[in-house]
């Protein structure tokens, strides 16, 4: 959330249907499926074009040579697409290989995975255990803790950064992967617990009760019953967290910096200032950075939307 949206604020209220019905009069058609007037269609079509144009510009530029990029706008490539001299894949090769541009997007791209995958999977495990305790176990302080977690959903991560930077430098952890993993695990935890508990509370109590009667321990019930049943919720959070961590700039900038362990967003941000050599790599580096979240998003859109409508967005 993308990188900027943080957190949902409760489940959107679904409308109730107690609006009074009324007297008879003439019914008018004008809305409903397939009723769009040509004007509406044109407007929406234009809107889609406007929405896609910037991405198209990036994509086209990324395949144009340095000379072409500098001597004419990217749209001129649409006018004469068969002028082969303007096209090249060298930008991608250079950006990934860390050639002339000086920024090794290939390495940063791999680092993005190194940061993102553990920072997505580990909190799921930890939060699922916690959500189980919050949903199915009775313990002192449970409700108070949960209200704190709900409150923390809206608290910006910035609150943690000043002390963390200090602590990390005392421990010599700056610019290491564990530093970022742990930070993302901590920052993602409230949302994860919130989503999982919300989902687990809707699971049929009877199933858990009967498992208990059959002598299953909490541990077994958790692994064999709750986790398999909670997959949709786990998937929703996984996508949020994946997108959030992959797209994050602030945490990576502060704790990973621009060294060997830098990630794609930071490397791309570093490229922006280029005016001389390497400038032509910006579009391809941009595309390399955004392609993974786009693919993940398109593949798993269903879970993403389900997570959103269940009242939680971070991104």
């Amino acid at each position: 959330m993308t990188s900027n949206i943080q957190i949902g604020t409760g489940t959107p209220q679904m409308p109730d249907d107690n609006v009074p019905a009324a007297k008879l009069k003439v019914s008018k058609e004008g809305s409903g499926q397939g009723s769009a007037s040509p004007l509406v269609r044109i407007f929406l079509g234009l809107l889609c074009v406007v929405w896609v144009i910037p991405v198209l510009g990036l994509l086209i530029s990324s395949f144009r040579t340095r000379d072409a990029q500098l001597s004419s706008g990217w749209w001129s490539a649409i006018a004469n697409p068969f002028d082969a001299t303007q096209w090249t894949v060298a930008n991608y090769v250079n950006a990934l290989g860390g050639g002339e541009g000086g920024v090794n997007m290939g390495q940063a791209f791999i680092n993005s995975f190194i940061v993102t995958v553990p920072a997505t999977v580990i909190p799921i495990l930890i939060a699922a255990f916690a959500a189980y305790a919050f949903t199915f176990m009775e313990w002192k302080g449970r409700d108070v803790f949960f209200v704190v977690i709900v409150g923390l959903l809206v608290v910006p991560n910035q609150v943690a950064l000043v002390p963390l930077l200090k602590i990390y430098s005392q421990l010599g952890m700056n610019n290491t992967f564990p530093a970022v993993w742990l930070a993302h695990i901590g920052f993602g935890m409230p949302l994860a617990i919130y989503i999982f508990r919300g989902y687990m509370a809707t699971l049929p109590m009877a199933v858990i009760e009967s498992a208990k009667i059959d002598g299953a321990s909490h541990f077994t019930t958790f692994w064999r019953l709750i986790i398999p049943m909670s997959v949709p919720a786990l998937a929703s959070f996984a996508i949020f967290q994946f997108l959030w961590v992959w797209n994050d700039l602030l945490v990576a900038l502060i704790f990973l910096g621009r060294g060997d362990n830098t990630i794609a967003t930071v490397a791309l941000q570093g490229l922006q200032g280029q005016t001389g050599q390497g400038r032509e790599l910006i579009p391809s580096a941009g595309f390399i950075t955004i392609i993974v979240p786009i693919l993940v998003f398109l593949a798993l859109q269903r879970y993403f939307i389900r997570g959103m409508t269940s009242g939680a967005v971070k991104g």
Partner: protein, 327 residues
């Protein structure tokens, strides 16, 4: 490269495996305490690591941050309210606050209105057209703000006068015989800030669209029909029947975008780095913390941000409690 890959895989297995082993050990420990204690200890074994993570990464640092906000630049001595006085009386910081205020006023409202408008219109398309339109408008949500800012270079880019323009906006301006303009540098009427807001709105409208669209679809058809029978026009039906029923979702979207906007950071850092009177609170925070090395100012800015978020926090907790009570 191969070694780096191997390291990555080892790190992933190590991290995940470590967490699994941790829970296994905690569970075994709880079981080892015997029947009587097991049930009491187990909840803490299950919730413990999560609570620890939250305590270490959010609660403790938050308290520490408040403390730092009353201390000097390297947190070695207390200065009372000096940081607050310094910042809140400095014109440049007040300008930063004002910019943030502009973002807060404009972006959430526009995001909701645009999303709502498009949701109503796409509702009238056939299912295939609707799905395609929604996916296209929703897609930027997956893109990082750094990525979005890079993408929008193809629109906003500026080349010196006399050279070919590579940004679409300047090319269009050129058609009318004006320009070229260095868009990000024009702070008259906060034009540059507004152009940056466009980038953020571009990424957020899809979110608003998808949530509001599903809320509109959940509006019972008979309430709309009843209005129609009563002779209400389309506009009247929309404002008097549909909007009241989706109001909860409107608020949810508004507040979610609002929280995001309050700490907007990436898009400003990447495009103007806070220059040309476009600076915002979170960018300034980053600058104080990282470039200027002034922990006192950085912590103070965060505390101000937290104070601004308190109303949202109260709303959030109340909303949650009401929901729990309704369960």
């Amino acid at each position: 490269m191969a070694i780096k890959f191997l390291n990555a895989i080892l790190a992933i297995i190590g991290g995940i495996g470590g967490a699994m082993i941790l829970f296994w050990i905690l569970n075994k420990l709880a079981e080892a305490t015997g029947r009587k204690w097991e049930d009491r200890i187990k909840p803490y074994a299950f919730a413990g690591p999560a609570i620890l993570a939250i305590a270490v990464y959010l609660i403790y640092p938050a308290v520490q941050t408040i403390q730092y906000s009353f201390a000097n630049a390297d947190s070695t001595g207390y200065v009372g309210f000096q940081n607050y006085i310094d910042l809140l009386t400095a014109n440049d910081f007040l300008a930063v606050l004002f910019n943030n205020l502009l973002w807060i006023i404009i972006v959430p409202a526009l995001t909701v209105v645009l999303g709502l408008g498009v949701a109503v219109l796409t509702d009238r398309l056939n299912p295939r057209g609707e799905k395609l339109t929604k996916t296209l408008i929703f897609l930027p949500m997956a893109i990082s703000m750094v990525g979005a800012a890079t993408i929008w270079r193809s629109i906003y880019e500026f080349q010196p006068t006399g050279t070919p323009q590579t940004g679409l906006l300047n090319a269009i301006a050129g058609l009318f015989g004006s320009g070229p303009f260095a868009w990000y540098q024009i702070s008259t009427l906060h034009l540059n800030s507004l152009l940056l807001m466009v980038i953020l709105i571009w990424t957020q409208v899809g979110y608003s669209l998808v949530l509001l669209s599903s809320a509109i679809k959940a509006v019972p058809e008979d309430t709309v029909e009843a209005g129609r029978i009563d002779g209400a026009g389309e506009r009247r039906i929309f404002f008097s029947i549909i909007v009241p029923q989706i109001w909860g979702t409107v608020i949810t979207v508004f507040i979610t975008v609002l929280i995001g906007v309050m700490k907007v950071f990436d898009v400003v850092l990447v495009t103007t780095n806070g220059g040309f009177n476009t600076d915002v609170v979170a960018r300034r925070f980053y600058f104080e913390l990282f470039s200027d090395g002034n922990n006192g100012y950085a912590a103070t800015i965060v505390v101000l941000l937290m104070v601004a978020i308190i109303p949202v926090l109260i709303y959030q907790v109340r909303h949650f409690k009401a929901e729990e009570a309704a369960r």
